[in-house]
């Protein structure tokens, strides 16, 4: 069984936010508005978060692209009262929109704050409904949603491999953010496969994970900047 994971090389990342927008385009995230943004309700499954340390002139900043960490030990799934979120067999933490009761316990429990709530029915101007991706369902109001590692692409890749009568290969399944990354800073693959790119990369001494001390075992790794 595969365990899907992501590696983001911060040394290559340019914080260009291509991943952020690609995610919205792929996953039917409605356009924001100043009003709802003011109320802190923007939905971005992928987001760049700025870490600042130090004082002028020795200030250091770090810009981190942050998808869902798809923890191996997710704090969100165990608090869900209705099994609307769970980790799939391949390590992807999924959300069942049809079952979610919108209690937002998982959003409150996630230490990475990567879960988003549909405060309203997602809305598009009529023209923009045209670009909705048929592979991804549009969420109803009142449910929680989150990064899925573009698991619909996994489904497709698997179907395709099956149709071609072969095993899945590295690169068959790539989330939208990884695919679009201009500087090639993002990698995706099977962490169980010792020869996969991601498995090789996480051996690097630069590798770290966010809030590792919480024991959530994220499957998103970062490679730090510098030597």
């Amino acid at each position: 069984m595969s365990k899907w994971g992501m590696v983001i090389d911060l040394d290559k990342c340019t914080a260009c936010q291509a991943c952020v927008v690609a995610c919205k385009a792929e996953n039917n995230i409605p356009p924001g508005s100043p009003d709802e943004t003011e109320r802190q309700r923007v939905i971005q499954w992928m987001e760049i978060i700025p870490f600042t340390s130090g004082q002028y002139p020795d200030v250091r900043m770090r810009l981190l692209p942050r998808p869902c960490m798809h923890c191996e030990n997710p704090p969100c799934t165990k608090v869900c009262p209705v099994r609307a979120t769970m980790m799939g067999p391949e390590g992807i933490v999924a959300q069942v929109y049809a079952r979610c009761i919108g209690c937002r316990y998982c959003t409150a429990a996630c230490p990475y704050t990567v879960r988003y709530f549909n405060w309203h029915k997602p809305e598009w101007p009529a023209e923009m409904r045209n670009h909705l991706n048929p592979d991804v369902s549009v969420r109803p109001a009142g449910v929680v949603e989150k990064c899925t590692f573009c698991s619909h692409r996994l489904q497709k890749a698997r179907e395709k491999a099956r149709a071609e009568g072969r095993q899945m290969r590295e690169g068959d399944y790539t989330p939208a953010c990884v695919q679009t990354c201009p500087s090639g800073a993002m990698f995706f693959g099977d962490m169980e496969d010792p020869h996969s790119t991601v498995s090789e990369l996480i051996k690097s001494p630069r590798a770290f994970r966010l809030l590792e001390e919480l024991g959530t075992e994220p499957k998103v790794y970062y490679l730090s900047e510098g030597q």
Partner: protein, 580 residues
């Protein structure tokens, strides 16, 4: 009984003031309902909630109301089990709070759901790992138990109402009274049932707020993930609950003229309990914040400082003021420990405990671990309306209850009165130090005692001159060795075949000591040993028991070391009972 009419009056007569207040409250409830409909239609977006402040007023209210619910049933159960007599006129009014407020707390969860239409999924797909499911189980159990616990003692009162009322209400009371006739058998069953419920309800109540705290404590979020949250929440719940009882008691006392039933002593007793809880609350709060401060983990400190000096500092410090400082001023000072002072303290506490919930729920969410923009939260009109609606609905339902059922347990009060003060006094004496008359209180202290070497004749002389019927025999340390009674002396004379004259002569003209010894005529030889003794602190009820069993005339009272300290005779007991 005429004096009970006042308790029936709310059910029999309803004035304009009631209808006006009910109408106003009804409007508020309807307004809240409108607010909820608009929330249903356009989603939770109409609230001020956001990311990361996913929870706000609704969850605060949920915790707050569930907290209040600890007042009634839990406290009533504890008082009932411990047979606190003063509870009788207040338990009903407290238990009603529990039942109503539990429902309203549950409603707040429903309001908070993004998809209330799917609430049954909790049953369908329930995952027992989730503390929310524990909550559901615990709260519904508590609601059931406390409803039952409210209903059981209500049955005799309903029967009373049934017998007084006419018309359709009579029918309802008839059904609800379950055929209560007040027979001995029914009484026994009811008492047994109430006793069982009272015991059962305590662990359930404790579990409820513990589990509510787990909703927060089971996450890893800063300042939620705390091991003392369980007891902290329970203490806070009882604290706010007592405050709520005091406020409501004061209101119904005023409105329904129940001054005779809800007396200053009730308030005073609850006030003392309230102060104890205030201290406990402070203790837990101190524990919680001090450990956080000393641990000084940066993510925790972010939340800590947002409470101490940051955006939430006004709420936090207001909470400290209203939960502890203000009530303490009222409760510690004897002059302000009046009903109005107590009510003021209680209002302060109720507000403070609401703030405490708010200060627990929001700042932790507003300061996420990762460096996002800090969250801000301003509730909207919808949230304010629904909160107002909750309070209005509670008041309205409470008012309705007082119109349907007596808010003071008539039969229990009546029972107390009829069974009489005496029985109560006796019961009180059973367990209350200082209430019971002790041997110490009635014994004769200046006791004439003899040593084992004292001659029989000497004893005879003593008995005769002091008109007493016996003397204790003590050693040189004043320890009681035995007792010599009239009969001991008399039987000894018979043994020695002495005439009464001789005997008296012996008494009057004592023989030399050596002679008596030689003859075996000393106290040591004739005394009954060991003597029947009792300690100074023995209650007279026990002394009476001893007299009855041993068929003796006096009991020698000793101190802890067995040294003679007094004597109680039968007449002393009689005199003591006379005095009571």
């Amino acid at each position: 009984m005429e004096r009970e009419d006042i308790l029936f009056r709310p059910m029999e007569k309803t004035g304009r003031r009631f209808y006006i207040s009910a109408a106003i409250l009804g409007i508020v409830v309807l307004w809240a309902f409108y607010a909820y409909i608009s929330q249903l239609r356009s989603g939770l977006g109409v609230t001020g909630l956001n990311r990361p402040v996913f929870w706000g007023f609704y969850i605060t209210n949920f915790v707050f109301f569930i907290g209040i619910s600890h007042a009634g049933t839990l406290i009533s159960a504890i008082l009932r089990i411990t047979n606190a007599e003063w509870r009788k006129s207040i338990t009903r009014s407290a238990e009603v709070i529990t039942v109503l407020v539990l429902g309203i707390g549950g409603m707040n969860i429903l309001m908070d759901l993004g998809r209330p239409d799917r609430v049954l999924n909790i049953v369908k797909y329930g995952r027992f790992h989730s503390p929310l499911v524990w909550d559901l189980v615990s709260i519904t159990t508590y609601l059931t138990a406390s409803t039952l616990y409210l209903y059981l003692p209500l049955i005799p009162d309903i029967a009373l109402l049934r017998d007084r009322m006419n018309g359709p209400r009579r029918f309802i009371y008839n059904v609800l009274s379950l055929g209560w006739r007040g027979t001995d058998g029914q009484q026994r069953i009811l008492q047994r049932a109430i006793a069982i419920m009272a015991i059962l309800v305590i662990p359930i109540a404790v579990s409820v707020h513990t589990v509510v705290s787990y909703v927060f404590a089971m996450t890893t979020q800063p300042m939620w993930h705390s091991a003392i949250f369980g007891p902290y929440f329970v203490v806070g719940a009882i604290f706010s609950g007592i405050a709520a009882i005091i406020i409501i008691m004061a209101i119904i006392r005023r409105v329904y003229h129940l001054e005779e039933y809800l007396r200053p002593v009730h308030f005073k007793n609850l006030g003392i309990l309230l102060f104890v809880m205030a201290c406990l609350w402070l203790y837990f709060t101190l524990n919680e914040y001090l450990t956080t401060f000393y641990g000084a983990e940066p993510v925790h400190m972010k939340v800590f400082y947002s409470k101490f000096t940051g955006r939430y500092a006004p709420f936090f410090w207001l909470m400290v003021m209203t939960c502890f400082v203000i009530p303490s001023i009222f409760l510690v000072n004897k002059r302000t420990r009046t009903i109005s002072g107590m009510v003021a303290a209680s209002i302060s506490i109720t507000a403070g405990m609401w703030l405490e919930r708010f200060v627990i729920v929001v700042p932790s969410l507003a300061n996420p671990r990762l460096p996002y923009e800090r969250g801000t939260y301003f509730p909207t009109w919808v949230e304010w309306s629904l909160m107002a609606g909750c309070f209005a609905l509670f008041t309205l339902l409470y008012m309705a209850f007082t119109k349907l059922f007596p808010i003071v347990s008539i039969w229990e009060v009546r029972e107390s009165r009829e069974r009489g003060i005496k029985e109560i006094k006796e019961r009180v004496r059973e367990y209350l130090p200082g209430m019971e008359v002790l041997a110490r209180d009635i014994m004769t202290r200046d006791v004439i005692a003899v040593t084992p070497e004292t001659s029989v004749s000497e004893i005879g002389r003593l008995l005769a001159s002091h008109r007493i019927s016996g003397v204790p025999v003590v050693d040189k340390y004043n320890r009681v060795l035995g007792v010599v009674s009239e009969s001991d002396v008399i039987f000894r004379e018979i043994r020695h075949e002495l005439t009464l004259v001789e005997r008296l002569g012996n008494i009057i003209l004592p023989e030399p000591r050596s002679e008596i010894e030689r003859q075996g005529n000393t106290a040591g030889e004739i005394m009954t040993s060991p003597a029947v003794t009792a300690e100074e602190l023995t209650p007279i009820t026990e002394l009476m028991e001893i007299f009855r069993e041993r068929k003796i005339k006096r009991i020698i009272i000793v101190d802890k070391e067995g040294r003679l300290s007094g004597i109680v005779s039968r007449i002393d007991i009689v005199e003591a009972i006379e005095r009571i």
